[in-house]
Amino acid sequence: MPPSAEPTDPPVAGRASLSARARGLRLVAAGICVALLCVGTFWGDDDAFPFGPFRMYSTSTPPNGNIHVMTLQARMPDGSWREAPLDAPIVGVNRAEVEGQIPRFQADPALVGKLVEAHDRLRPAEPRWTGARLVMRYLKLRDRRFVGTEEKVVAQWLR
């Protein structure tokens, strides 16, 4: 309905019904969306949004397994390495987003340079990084309790 046709009459008490066709269309639309969500839940993945599975914290971490945490280390102008927050206000993307693209970073470490460039743009007042590396930190669990840490470099880029 065009905006000019919107009702401007005074509010009335009563019940506004829909035509059979309008009801049918609405039921079909709702049915299609529910069906697509169900298909996405069992066969899709996150890239099927808005019909992907609701997979927040859906994977299992074994009680004696490892917790993976991606971290970012930046090389300062003096050559020293320092851990930097892997967060969107610092490098344009956040930790979960980087974790969602690990194979891409491994295949093309130059993408780590894009994080450094984003830092240049977002934090112009800070010292320019001369390189960066993504480091996967493994927090080791025994019987659901933290017992130690291991680290492994995933991808590195130097200016």
Partner: protein
């Protein structure tokens, strides 16, 4: 089929839709500027764009910093205008449709950097269906089948977020999910001080996983609850989200907004005005015992969404609308 029709179209007060619109549209500037200002940050890292399937199917342009800024700053004034006009019901179809399309595009861009948030489906559904309701003003004292369908769709999406996530856990985590250390992982990755206290008592997190799975599997019951049972269920779910926020700083803001505004009789918030408009002397206790009557004395289909009495005929007792109807 008759039962489905009754469930989907049992009329709902139009004022509830007007209130929902105000909340939903005011959320947009809050979301884009405060809660999730990822768009402006992504503009500095467009090299990491990895499009979603639907973005490719629709041939949406690869985002540039300019596109991200343009979408964000078109959305915000439109949302403010829609919220300001929502009480009068004017321009809601045009503004609401534009807002839905732009917000959807904004989400598609935002989710194309390696991470999809799972708290938005109900909100996206709300933005899609709110423009389909004509004539909803906050002084509307009538009800409409179109309003019922719109709110039912949002309710379905809210419940799907819980119910289908149980199946996602079974699919990706297996049945062992309930006995895994997934919540220990959540707290160790992003736990607050409160959350970290629980790491000393890992059994609490272990049993919480059983509780979450159970809650998600029984969540569809909420769709059929009425009266105080429905309030209790909404309260439990809201408390769950607040607890998650307190322990791991994740808050499903738009989802909780939909939970509250699609399931609760929010028209009572503006009932005072409606009563004035209709010249009624009905008491205006928000959420109070007397707040179950409509402005002009007609019953408001409150929580079960189906009026018990014919429209225009006052209920017999003060709580007549409140009783569970089986």
């Amino acid at each position: 089929m008759a039962a489905l029709n009754r469930w989907f179209f049992g009329p709902v007060p139009l004022a509830r839709v007007a209130v929902f619109r105000i909340a939903a549209y005011l959320f947009i500037p809050l979301d884009l500027l405060v809660l999730r200002p990822l768009g402006s940050q992504h503009a500095s890292a467009t090299a990491l764009y990895k499009p979603l399937i639907v973005a490719e199917l629709l041939h949406l342009p690869r985002p540039t910093p300019w596109l991200i800024v343009a979408v964000t700053w078109t959305l915000i004034p439109l949302a403010l205008a829609a919220a300001a006009l929502a009480p009068s019901g004017r321009w809601q179809r045009v503004l609401g449709t534009a807002i839905f399309l732009l917000y959807f595009e904004q989400l598609l861009i935002s989710f194309s950097f390696g991470k999809v948030d799972h708290d938005r489906i109900a909100y996206v559904v709300a933005l899609a269906v709110l423009p389909t309701v004509a004539g909803a003003r906050w002084r509307s004292s009538g009800s409409a089948e179109s309003a019922a369908w719109a709110l039912r769709c949002v309710q379905l999406a809210v419940v799907a977020t819980y119910f289908l996530s149980a199946f996602a856990k079974l699919r990706f985590g297996g049945v062992e999910w309930v006995n895994s250390a997934t919540l220990v992982r959540a707290v160790m990755r992003r736990g607050t001080g409160v959350g970290r206290l629980l790491l000393d008592y890992p059994w609490t997190l272990h049993w919480a996983q059983w509780g979450i799975m159970l809650m998600e599997l029984v969540s569809p019951v909420v769709l059929f609850l009425r009266g105080r049972w429905r309030y209790a269920a909404v309260g439990v779910l809201t408390a769950f989200h607040l607890m998650v926020f307190a322990t791991i700083t994740i808050m499903f803001w738009p989802h909780v907004l939909c939970l509250l505004f699609a399931f609760l009789p929010t028209e009572r918030l503006v009932r005072n005005g409606a009563a004035d408009a209709a010249g009624s002397a009905a008491p205006a206790l928000v959420g109070g015992q007397d707040a179950h009557r409509g402005a002009a004395g007609e019953p408001m289909p409150v929580v079960g969404d189906e009026p018990v009495h014919p429209v225009g005929q006052p209920p017999e007792g003060r709580d007549a609308q409140e009783q569970p109807q089986g």
